[in-house]
Subunit: 114 residues, 6 copies
């Protein structure tokens, strides 16, 4: 089940639009706030995306991991930086994280054309 | 992957039957107790289903969320009440809940014929 | 370690002030949004607090549970309504929830002067 | 904060009594079912307690871990068997489990008079 | 979506190879350590696999559950022992575990040719 | 309950020694691996500590958070960098993270002499 970043992002966009149309003010503001938290500050966008990635990995959410992987590739994260981040997630979160690590790496290699 | 409430409930029923056939006394009694907890008391069935929904959402179990959505539609929960409940789940559980919120809303709009 | 609602709320207030002073805009807006999600809509404040309570219980956060218990007592939740809510949390979240159920009930009886 | 198994069990008993007095039928039946699940079947009480222990450890509930440690000592689990179980919990659950491992071992050495 | 143990193990092997090729030293050593933790000690391989199973179940990871089910069938766990283990996971982890219990049992019956 | 970094680290050291004395080879190797994952690579020690911090925060482990805060202060993380990291944890993990955010900030201000 090779996932392609375009397909992934299109489906995500479709469902997000639905959420923003049907959801209330709390939903809309939460989405804005989510974006805001990842804007560059003293920490760069790249490092913030890696923080979002490791948080998503230890909480074991494949969709969130995939999204941050797309963003990481846009921020020109190297494969070594990615692996170092996944390894911190693996140590902190344990072997239960491995299936998500496997899928994350597969998606990463796919979207970065390895 | 549009899910239809009939398909969802039929597959659920098939697997539950298997669990109740093969499982032991603890399983059977747990299933009874689960049903009992959602019967109306001082709180109505509707409000209990919303409690089950938000608990399932923050624990991020799509199957449990889908089941409570079917029950919520039977209890005539409005879309606004549903959104208010999902928004509490979103605030309490954070952005990690969003993929489940997206799928929950999509399933809800589907089963309530929006 | 009997907790008193005044002590609990004062310590919470002191730490919240510190968070709002030192935290950034994302923090401040999140706190506003959190408040907003629990304001009455089609669902009453009381039912929203019960949703917050069950979500906090299954996620097993004593501080969050205590806060929602104080709010539930202000919204005149009855002990039976409370128990029905805790029981849904118990069924959904399992025996791992029991220590939090025990502490929640002890705090509730304390703040409602049983 | 050396915990002693007698103190731990007495406080637990006091709060459980309160839960069983104030709680509803769902609570009472859940407690019965919890006991029933740990009664010897094809798996011995000892092995069931180790299952309860590792489940409590990866879910990171100190009270549940302490309770199963008391039960493990009654079932004459050896320190090596205990360590092997904690190590499976550590690998599955990751470094986030370490603070609970540390407290579990400290409590174990205390209640088994090492 | 009947899963077959051969398909499951082949896909797992393919992704694990990729992880071990692309991953760093921390990844490789973690995988070794994971294997080591399940080697027989004072506790047998069979009992260790049941520990891994219940930990995976309460953490609700289907892939991890499937893997331990394959290993349990190799260690000649009986269906009754399996059910007793799943029931402990159900009691500890609550109804949120049920969808995983359902899929676990379906996979078990499939790989053991019931 | 103001915690002081010296007290915190001494108690941690005492319990870690006990774990390393009583624990098996899996434990010792896991501790080594944990250390190894945080050594500088393409990512600096500072950024790895921030990754460890946000992972600990969303998994809601106060002890792990405190440890990474001590390490962050040694790596000369600024208060703004810290807040930006905590805010990502807050958005990803939701309001259930707030009590840990509050305690983290209080500990941070304490150990950095604000």
């Amino acid at each position: 089940m090779k996932k392609n970043s375009t397909d992934f992002l299109e489906e995500r966009l479709r469902l997000n639009k639905q959420v923003l149309t049907e959801g209330g003010l709390v939903t809309k503001r939460f989405f804005n706030l989510d974006e805001k938290a990842f804007q560059p500050g003293e920490l760069s966008s790249k490092h913030k995306e890696l923080l979002g990635l490791v948080a998503s990995l230890v909480l074991r959410c494949d969709d969130c991991v995939s999204y941050h992987l797309v963003r990481c590739s846009q921020e020109e994260v190297t494969t070594t930086e990615l692996i170092e981040t996944l390894e911190i997630g693996l140590i902190v979160g344990g072997s239960i994280v491995i299936p998500h690590y496997r899928r994350a790496l597969d998606f990463w290699l796919n979207i970065t054309n390895h």
